[in-house]
Amino acid sequence: MKYRIIVPLYNEARYIKKFLENMPSKHLSSLILVDDGSTDKTAKIVKENYPKTTLLQQKINLGKGKSMETGALRAIKDKADVLIFMDGDMQHKPTDIDRFLRAFKKQRRIDIIFGARTIGKNMRLAPFMGNKMLTIIINLFFKYFLNDTQCGFRGFRAKVFDKVRWRSSGYAAETEMVINAARNRLRYREISIDTVYLDHYKGTSIFDGVIILAKITIWKFFK
């Protein structure tokens, strides 16, 4: 089973080296790192220290959703069977990748696997509440019962890419992916993962949460 691990990066110079050091060496050649117009030394660090990985450089900052799409398109071009997405800010543990791969190997009927963070643990109150609210709304609107719809650690089989493909350029992409999976009744499962929050000022803000909420409502009634 050929797989690709897609990691969108934006100004991750602080964490990228450690993230790649923690990555089991067997996965390095499967990594597709998408630098989303970083203004720091993210791309330089990757180029100099990890030539085995594939680095795609978006010269202009397009947002996480577009970076994920660029990585996915490369993975499809590489004829990967499974695409796995994770964050490059040390939030997700590279050792969990094998759990995703094992699940895809064992459960051939499963189309998509979502990481589910232990909500509440290590998470501040505002993101916790926001995450919970969005998850409940998606569960109710789309009858797709997940514990964590906002987790960026997830994977799907390449054959369902067209069914889950998102148009959102920002953080709403992950939610759109869930909704597309729900609409197409893709078979899913969840894997509980550990999360570490090192940088509280990055990631989804309250403002992003409001935009995602508005988009969920639009997708429910007009998509």
Binding site: L28, V46, T53, T54, L56, Q58, L62, K66
Partner: protein, 113 residues
């Protein structure tokens, strides 16, 4: 003929915008048709500000009692149209930029291994 303060402000605004339009044309921000359209528009605003009575028949047809209200209604419609056109153009440019950036990233990957 008594000229109100708002008329003076409107004429000054129109003249400033005609100058700004000319400046933008000289800087090649837009071409001749764009220059003519915008100049005519601000010229029309200046003329309407000097001779507002000329618009009274239009206001009567539209059942608008005050000329000032007519200006407000036309102004709001104009703003909505311009905002909509701007939105369409921004979306088009955004999509083109996204496609171009993604294609370039996919075309020139950095991989030595």
């Amino acid at each position: 003929m008594n000229i109100l303060g708002i008329q003076i402000a409107s004429i000054a605004f129109s003249l400033f915008m005609i100058y700004f339009t000319y400046l933008s044309y000289r800087r090649k921000y837009f071409d001749m048709p764009g220059f003519i359209i915008w100049t005519l528009l601000f010229l029309a605003l200046a003329i309407a500000s000097v001779f507002p009575e000329g618009l009274i028949p239009v206001a009567q047809i539209l059942k608008i009692s005050r000329l000032f209200d007519l200006f407000m209604v036309v102004g709001i419609f104009f703003l909505i149209v311009i905002t909509f056109i701007n939105f369409i153009h921004t979306q088009k440019i955004k999509r083109k930029l996204e496609n171009f950036t993604q294609e370039k990233a996919l075309k020139d990957p950095h991989q030595k291994g």
